[in-house]
């Protein structure tokens, strides 16, 4: 079971709304390498794991990814506050806005809705752990691309934290693979 704590895993304090930045960052909520896919991937894979260390790391990393879902959502929420219609049109937010207003909807930056086709659960320890190692690198790569596209230091700070966690989780999954 899970218990909610009324705080973020790391503070998100974005001062300047920027719907164009939100449009690319939303991929890390509902895109192919996003946090929602990560959380569900690891939590679903646990049941087939014959080793306590592997079930443990999937549980704990999966749980942390849920906190990352909330953190990315907080970034999106703060980037889309108090927008004018003119900003919505000029910053390319109109296509999202027409269906979702400023609600948080998990989709890729391209507009493709979140799909469970982006995650795997094979029932095989080695296949799943290698999937997870790749998934962490793909998420790290997406955060690198976001850092190429976004200038605001408030946003970059939060994104850098998330990027760093992908690297740590890659390390832990590598150790889990060797622990068998």
């Amino acid at each position: 079971m899970w218990q909610y704590e009324k705080r973020l895993i790391r503070p998100v304090k974005v001062q300047r709304p920027d719907p164009a930045a939100a449009m690319v960052i939303m991929s890390q909520l509902g895109g192919p390498h996003g946090e929602l896919g990560a959380a569900t991937r690891y939590l679903n894979q646990r049941y087939a794991m014959p080793y306590g260390e592997v079930a443990g790391i999937l549980t704990d990393v999966g749980t942390e990814e849920l906190a990352h879902v909330e953190m990315v959502s907080a970034i999106l929420y703060q980037l889309t506050r108090n927008l004018t219609v003119q900003e919505i049109k000029e910053k390319g937010f109109d296509q999202y806005f027409v269906d979702h207003t400023t609600g948080i909807y998990p989709q890729a930056a391209s507009g493709v809705p979140f799909s469970v086709e982006t995650l795997a659960s094979t029932g095989d320890v080695l296949a799943d752990l290698h999937e997870d190692l790749a998934a962490e690198q793909k998420a790290r790569m997406s955060y690198d691309n976001i850092l190429r596209l976004v200038d605001d230091p408030d946003v970059r700070d939060a994104i850098k934290f998330l990027r760093e966690r992908e690297i740590v989780h890659f390390q832990r999954f590598g150790e889990a693979k060797q622990s068998q």
Binding site: K6, L8, R10, V14, E53, S73, Q78, R81, A176
Partner: protein, 83 residues
């Protein structure tokens, strides 16, 4: 958000991050004695900081204790603590 509240919450977040990090490390190193001590120490600090925060500013997890209003529903929610 007033400065002291912000400072106390930041302490909670720092210790909880240390707990999460040590927890994940221990998953793949369950016999590492130094890591176990690190985890226990960070856990203890987290409980102390959490108690200090909650005594002044209300629950982080919905909980028990003396109350006349279910303050859990009051703002700010975590995503509303913008700059």
């Amino acid at each position: 958000m007033e400065a002291n509240k912000k400072r106390l919450l930041q302490k909670v977040q720092q210790y909880e991050f240390a707990v999460i990090e040590a927890n994940e490390y221990l998953d793949t190193h369950p016999d590492d004695q130094e890591a176990i001590r690190y985890f226990q120490n960070a856990s203890r600090h987290l409980q102390q900081q959490l108690a200090a925060y909650e005594e002044k500013y209300g629950k982080i997890a919905a909980g028990e204790g003396e109350m006349t209003r279910w303050a859990w529903v009051d703002e700010p929610w975590p995503w509303q603590m913008e700059g």
